[in-house]
């Protein structure tokens, strides 16, 4: 158990601020069967990391079947091919390989880490979990109960309650408006047929992205890709369209008996392919990203001691871009925290940032680049993220120039256009003193 100075838990899925390291030599590999992957050869340690991602993820849930893709994802390693759940687990442990299956609003990811000495066997096992999962009824019931357990926990977690309320207000009838894990009711009603349909909705070649890093040559990777993924169908369920962001300014208070209120706040953000994205990225670095140097952290925590942590982050998802933040303060102090955050939003919108802040933010954003490349698996994930954004294979070498090119005027203009204190909506979960819901449109 550790207590730490701050937990940067909210800086995670954010911004895909792609690092740059000149030494990373990415090559494109096209398998004999036509599957494309990006590869970094790194033979010094006898293992490889593989990242396979399917665009669409849980947003491809069929109407009325919310949670099916999440539950399906949880079942992939619960029996495949000739092996039931326990046999599969024993086989995997016997190879000392690690498989990961994860799903979110925009993608389903399958990751693997395996030793060179038994790579073929590990790839074969991974293949069965992707192509031939069994979805045995007994495993379905067991994993369903685990999902329901998680959902019941979320219903008592103030941060999750705030997140759900915010999404519901922000994303109208788009899949983003509801939890991809589903509801107690929807998950309870899912059948094995629903799980099979969920599988064929997601897994297809027309939405596939692959990154590989480690002890493998291009000549070995091609056949590996065909073995692993060659049997996938060409196409799956159609992707959802863009989401209208329907949230407007104000406060929403959700009553919950807890000593400390949790607030999620947000407004419309900026797309990753927008020419101003890097200006916004630098702006947010000054405003609320990262650790102690941000304005929000300085004003809310360092000067006033109102919180343990406050963060803002750009969330440029496939179908909606938002700018969001999170803070937690004691019930009798959260109103002050909210007021300070609104003031900082307004100050940045009207004044932009200073030259010194811009310089520091740029040094940080560019200088932090090599720190992200700390292992085979992280590099594989970064390469898949680049492909999903349609970035060129040499992007890493040019990325920092785009950050350096941001001027004080750019940030000032983008701050004025992007930051809208009137449109900023706070969802506060707790028993906050002096805060009430305002009519949200």
């Amino acid at each position: 158990m550790l207590m730490t100075r701050f937990v940067a838990a909210f800086a995670v899925a954010v911004a895909l601020a792609l690092p740059a390291r000149a030494e990373v030599k990415i090559q494109e590999v096209v398998s004999p069967g036509g599957i494309t992957a990006w590869l970094v050869q790194e033979p010094s340690i006898p293992f490889m990391a593989l990242e396979v991602r399917f665009r669409g993820g849980a947003s491809l849930d069929a109407p009325g079947k919310r949670g099916a893709i999440n539950l399906m994802t949880g079942l992939l390693e619960e029996g495949a091919g000739d092996l039931d759940a326990r046999e599969f687990a024993r086989e995997l442990e016997g190879l000392a390989a690690t498989f990961g299956y994860d799903v979110g609003d925009d993608a389903l990811s399958v990751s693997g880490r395996f030793l060179t000495e038994n790579r073929d066997e590990a790839v074969e096992l991974l293949r069965t979990s992707i192509i031939e999962p069994r979805f045995d009824q007994s495993a379905l019931e067991r994993v369903r109960e685990q999902v329901l357990t998680g959902l019941r926990s979320d219903m008592k977690d103030p941060a999750e309650i705030a997140r759900a309320a915010f999404d519901k207000m922000a994303f109208g009838d788009h899949p983003y408006a509801t939890d991809y894990k589903g509801t107690l009711e929807s998950v309870a009603a899912l059948t094995r047929d629903d799980i099979i349909s969920a599988h064929s909705a997601v897994f297809a070649k027309d939405r596939l992205y692959v990154g590989a890093v480690g002890d493998i040559t291009p000549e070995e990777l091609g056949p590996l890709l065909d073995t692993l993924l060659g049997a996938l169908p060409d196409t799956g369920a159609p992707q959802p369209g863009p989401a209208d962001i329907t949230i407007s300014g104000g406060n929403t208070v959700v009553d919950f008996d807890t000593p400390q209120s949790v607030a999620i706040f947000g407004q419309v953000g900026i797309e990753q392919d927008d020419p101003d994205f890097f200006a916004a990225r630098v702006l947010n670095q000054v405003l609320g990203a990262g650790g102690f140097e941000s304005r929000l952290m300085t004003e809310v925590r360092e000067k006033r001691g109102l919180t343990y942590g406050v963060y803002s982050f750009l969330v440029p998802r496939d179908h909606a871009a938002t700018l969001q933040g999170q803070v937690a303060s004691a019930n009798d102090r959260v109103a002050e925290a909210v007021a300070v955050i609104r003031d900082e939003w307004a100050r940045a919108a009207s004044e932009g940032v200073t030259q010194a802040e811009l310089d520091a933010a740029k040094t940080y954003v560019t200088g932090a680049y090599p720190l992200r490349f700390d292992g085979n698996a992280p590099i594989a994930r970064i390469m898949v993220g680049m492909q999903m954004l349609g970035l060129p294979i040499d992007y890493i070498a040019t990325r920092n120039e785009k950050v350096e090119a941001v001027t004080l005027e750019d940030v000032k203009r983008v701050a004025a256009e992007l930051l809208d204190p009137e449109a900023l909506h706070f969802v506060v979960v707790g028993r906050p003193d002096g805060l009430e819901s305002t009519p949200a449109n």
């Binding site: 100075r5 357990t149 008592k156 400390q260 360092e302 700390d374």
Partner: protein
């Protein structure tokens, strides 16, 4: 599987997973400065990055009675001014150099670290050495930062029934030792922490002969040595460094039970902790057997508890066993069962105890043990891809009095453990008179929420 990971994560606040050892001995160099500061260097030149850490052999269990939380409070205050740096300047300089910094406090240590481009190591060392002895903070700093740690307690403990339950479990487990007091502190004592408390802790413990420097990444041992001598080597040792003797546990003769009730509990469960031996310098065999016992019993999808309780009787949605061997004094061995809906906590506890009893009869599955050992060997290969993880392992181990050699022999000691060793360790550790059994549940009269 993400679902299971989420359930596991729910327990990570009160129970730590065993840290698998991995030795990459040839990349590790260690030496000691003249003033007694230990130095460990872990080389990896694959990326031009370095991690610089200083670990103090001073954690929450070293605090004076009545000042719980002061170790962690001081950790926060170390980011304030020094003779040469302004409030907050430390982190600003790190960030302006493209780096990241943070710190953490545990029962037995407090550690500070930065990750930066390798050519900035000297700057980091200069600043870290500065705040080892030259910290300056005002009464206003103290008042504001005390509010921050109280909000931290709100966020991490008081908003989380599992964390509150874990605090009560620990408090009941330790009759006399400071491990029974939470790292973050009891609220009523945190509220009273002042400048003198923080400075008192600082001026007792923050000296080079009580610290370990761990540098990992794209560095050479000789450069680290030269820099360390320049910046840390000039700081005088504290000749009066107190010996780390904590009030010891008396023989534990009575099983303890507790029920923690909270309306915010979403998932009820049963937790059992047993007092257990830690890894001792030159004597890690028992801890190695306990580490493997936790794996065999409740470490994964093919473990004994999982097989019996999740797959066969289906009384549990989750079960597990945990052991944390890196500790200065007696640690705990923990078992947990999260019942399936419709199974009461009483039934779940009974099922857990029946399964443990059955395990004592069945013994260790030799094939399972081989798989676990193979995974441990593989983890030594994977660890080479994460030198910062290796660095942390050394820092933590050395902070609790283990030697570099203890860290490096640990993988072999694990490999040498036999099924008989594991069963003997199980017999020793699974003693109800040295255990606490806790139920995390909801209030008797359900509140309308």
């Amino acid at each position: 599987m993400p679902v299971l990971r989420a359930v596991l994560a729910a327990f990570s606040l009160s129970i730590s997973l065993p840290a698998f050892a991995a030795g990459i001995d040839d990349a590790v160099t260690s030496f000691t400065l003249d003033n007694g500061m230990q130095v460990v260097v872990v080389e990896d030149s694959r990326a031009p990055v370095v991690q610089h850490m200083v670990w103090y052999r001073a954690g929450s269990a070293d605090e004076p009675v009545g000042s719980s939380g002061v170790a962690h409070f001081l950790e926060h205050l170390l980011f304030k001014a020094t003779d040469t740096l302004k409030d907050g300047e430390f982190s600003s300089v790190v960030a302006a150099n493209g780096g990241r910094d943070n710190a953490f406090t545990s029962y037995d240590y407090t550690a500070y670290f930065q990750r930066v481009a390798a050519d900035r190591l000297e700057l980091m060392m200069r600043m870290e050495a500065d705040r080892m002895r030259n910290i300056k903070f005002t009464d206003e700093n103290v008042a504001t930062e005390r509010d921050v740690i109280l909000e931290e307690r709100n966020q991490r403990t008081d908003s989380n029934p599992r964390a509150l339950f874990g605090e009560q479990m620990n408090a009941a487990q330790y009759l006399n030792h400071r491990y029974g007091v939470p790292i973050i502190g009891w609220r009523h004592e945190m509220e009273e922490l002042d400048r003198d408390d923080a400075l008192g802790f600082y001026n007792t413990h923050y000296f080079p002969n009580n610290a370990i420097l761990v540098v990992s990444g794209d560095v050479r041992p000789d450069e680290v040595k030269a820099l360390a001598e320049t910046y840390y080597g000039v700081i005088p040792a504290n000749p009066d460094l107190p010996e780390r003797i904590r009030s010891a546990e008396p023989p534990q003769t009575t099983e303890r039970r507790l029920i923690y009730r909270d309306a915010r509990v979403a998932q009820e469960y049963v937790s059992r902790s047993y007092l257990a031996q830690e890894r001792d310098p030159g004597d890690q065999k028992e801890a190695a057997a306990l580490t493997l016992l936790a794996e065999v019993l409740g470490g994964g999808q093919t473990s004994y508890l999982t097989e019996k309780l999740q797959f066969e009787s289906q009384k549990a949605v989750f079960s597990g066993a945990f052991y944390r061997g890196v500790s200065l004094d007696d640690t705990t061995f923990d078992v947990v069962i999260v019942p399936t809906p419709g199974v009461s906590l009483e039934e779940a506890e009974a099922a857990m105890d029946e399964t443990l009893a059955q395990f004592m009869e069945d013994g260790v599955d030799a094939e399972q043990l081989e798989r676990i050992k193979y995974q441990l060997r593989a983890s030594q290969i994977f660890a080479q891809d994460n030198v910062d993880g290796v660095a942390r392992r050394y820092g933590a181990a050395l902070s609790v009095g283990l030697s570099v050699e203890d860290v490096q022999t640990w993988p072999d000691i694990l490999q040498a453990v036999t099924p008989e060793d594991i069963m003997a360790a199980a017999k020793t550790v699974l003693k109800r008179e040295a255990s606490v059994t806790g139920w995390l549940t909801r209030p008797i009269t359900p509140e309308v929420n």
